[in-house]
């Protein structure tokens, strides 16, 4: 009889425990959940690992469930259930142990009543504990399974993303502040909040959810075509596709009046000619680039002198070869020769360190024996326009010193040494060689042997070109001004360092198609 009564009380306790667990589950997960918000999660991460110099704050997005929210859910269910369980203990505990509801003595004289209550409550506690442990185990199992799938997916996607970036050089470079980052930041399409790291991670493997609830794609190669990219440093808008397509930065340097600007626009004009022949679209990434290119190309075609390049901070001419994911963004930096003479201006040469390709333009009329020979021809011997006066090795040494001083590994860059004004030389009876080895030998014979030897040591790859910035040479002529650019654009397709293997881009394709047609 007594044992049956106790078993009945325990049974009732189990039922009460089950009901309380169910209520706690519904309250903790449904009606009164504790939500780990993007801001809250970001604060936690910031506290756990403050951003170091050069790092950004974590993005404001909803973290994947198993990173944080499942712990919050377990805690909330525990709290909701525990609060109700403590509430049903309140009256019996006060009556039997504190004496608030009559004398404790009399309660224990009628001991079956407290015993029945207590057995019921203990059984309810056991049921609640068991239910909670079961829920915790199930949650942990779900999180483990999801984590395994997520982890494998994220690792694969991260590897693909990093591999693609390394092979194709799909960095994001800002034409305004020269900042180069592995990938750009992207604005949310709804709330415009900036997401700085869209790689697969804590906020999502395939998609991430912004704080405002908008789903955003992860990985730059997907985000590039759906979101608006902005510079990681200055926050200015970047062209569509940046971060997903190959980004080639070419710095052109040389003495003042060496012919850098004319070379740039003539090379660009020739490149556009070749591209049209190969049916490859060429466009400009911004209005300023287009305006300057149209003006410069117009001057080259008209055979007029180029204005002196401003010593103000260099702004690149940015163009896009091809369309869509297989295109190449090319940024051509034309640097005023005066910048290399003035050490105070070195700070404005930041783009040099991020350039994959460097073009050094040499004015052949600054070579001693050429000047002497031309001077003997009379007043018409030396070109009527300005000519460089400095030793070709001096500017080269200044640039290499700048690169070394800035910790830039010049051995990762390609160098095209361009002897300009080949047409003017020809008019004066001096025929420059057309092949790289021949031009190298010509420079060595012209007392620039230190430059030739040092360049081979200091850069990953060096090639010599002779160019004439004349429309007659375009599209594969003996002194085609686009030849150095084509060589630099073919970086990833000709088996050089960082060759993509399978990655074919507009720059490489264009050369091949144009060659096949001719």
């Amino acid at each position: 009889m007594v044992i049956d009564a106790l078993l009945a009380c325990a049974g009732l306790g189990l039922v009460i425990g089950l009901v309380l667990s169910a209520i706690g589950l519904v309250a903790g997960l449904g009606t009164h959940p504790r939500l780990v918000t993007p801001s809250g999660y970001r604060d936690e991460r910031r506290k756990a690992r403050p951003a170091r110099v050069g790092e950004f704050e974590p993005d404001r997005g909803w973290p994947f469930y198993f990173f944080r929210q499942w712990q919050a859910d377990l805690g909330q269910v525990n709290e909701e259930t525990g609060r109700r369980y403590r509430a049903i203990w309140k009256w019996p505990a006060e009556a039997f142990f504190v004496g608030r509801h009559g004398s404790r003595f009399w309660w224990w004289v009628f001991f079956p009543i407290p015993v029945a209550f207590l057995s019921c409550l203990v059984a309810a506690g056991v049921a609640i504990g068991a239910c909670y442990l079961l829920f915790a185990a199930v949650s942990f199992g779900c999180v483990l399974a999801a984590g395994a799938v997520w982890g494998a997916g994220a690792v694969i996607l991260l590897g693909l993303d990093a591999g693609r970036r390394a092979l194709l050089h799909t960095e994001a470079s800002c034409p305004r502040c020269f900042h180069v980052s592995g990938w750009p930041a992207y604005r949310c399409t709804h709330c415009a909040v900036i997401h700085r790291d869209v790689r697969p991670g804590r906020l999502g493997a395939i998609v991430r959810r912004c704080e405002c609830g908008t789903l955003l794609p992860t990985m730059a190669q997907r985000a590039a075509w759906r979101l608006r990219a902005v510079c990681q440093r200055c926050g200015k808008s970047l062209p569509e596709g940046v971060g997903a397509v190959r980004d080639l930065r070419i710095a052109i340097f040389g003495d003042a009046a060496a012919g850098k600007t004319r070379f740039l626009y003539a090379a660009l004009d020739s490149l556009v000619t070749t591209a049209q022949r190969a049916h490859v679209a060429v466009g400009f990434l911004d209005r300023s680039s287009q305006d300057r290119a149209e003006l410069g190309i117009g001057l080259v075609r008209a055979g007029r002198d180029m204005p002196r390049t401003s010593a103000a901070p260099t702004v690149p001419v940015s163009c896009q070869l091809g369309t869509g994911p297989r295109s190449t963004f090319t940024h051509l930096f034309d640097t005023a020769g005066e910048l290399f003479r003035n050490p105070e201006m070195y700070d404005s040469l930041g783009f040099l360190g991020h350039a994959q390709g460097v073009v050094y333009v040499i004015d052949p009329f600054c070579v001693g024996w050429v000047r002497d020979r031309c001077a003997r021809l009379g007043p018409a011997g030396l070109p009527r326009d300005r000519s460089a006066t400095d030793d070709p090795e001096a500017i080269y040494a200044a640039v290499v010193e700048w690169l070394r001083g800035g910790g830039v590994a010049a051995r990762t860059q390609r160098l095209a040494i361009v002897v300009a004004k080949a047409d003017l030389m020809r008019e004066r009876g001096i025929e420059l060689p057309a092949d790289s080895a021949g031009i190298g030998a010509w420079l060595q014979d012209s007392r620039a042997h230190n430059l030739v030897l040092a360049a081979g040591r200091e850069f990953a790859d060096v090639r010599f070109f002779a160019i004439a910035s004349q429309p007659g040479e375009y599209g594969g002529g003996r002194y085609d001004p686009a030849a150095p650019l084509r060589w630099l654009l073919g970086w990833h397709a000709d088996g050089g360092p960082g060759a993509a293997g399978t990655g074919r881009h507009a720059g490489a394709d264009m050369g091949e198609r144009a060659g096949a047609r001719s």
Partner: protein, 59 residues
């Protein structure tokens, strides 16, 4: 702030699995379902408790 669907899915799945396991145990104790053997075991335990009680716990 709207709860992301991903959270809702995880919560519903975890709660459903928990309830299903509990229901399976409950039915098992009642002698039904895949764990129906639990009912027999429970009856045996109850009988042992009754027998011991009637004989006196110390035999």
């Amino acid at each position: 702030m709207k709860t992301p669907p991903q959270f809702v899915i995880f919560r519903v799945v975890a709660a459903t699995i928990t309830v299903l396991i509990l229901a399976t145990f409950g039915l098992g104790l009642a002698g039904r379902g895949p764990l129906d053997g639990l009912g027999t075991q429970t009856s045996r335990v109850v009988n042992v408790v009754h027998d011991n009680y009637q004989r006196g716990w110390n035999g």
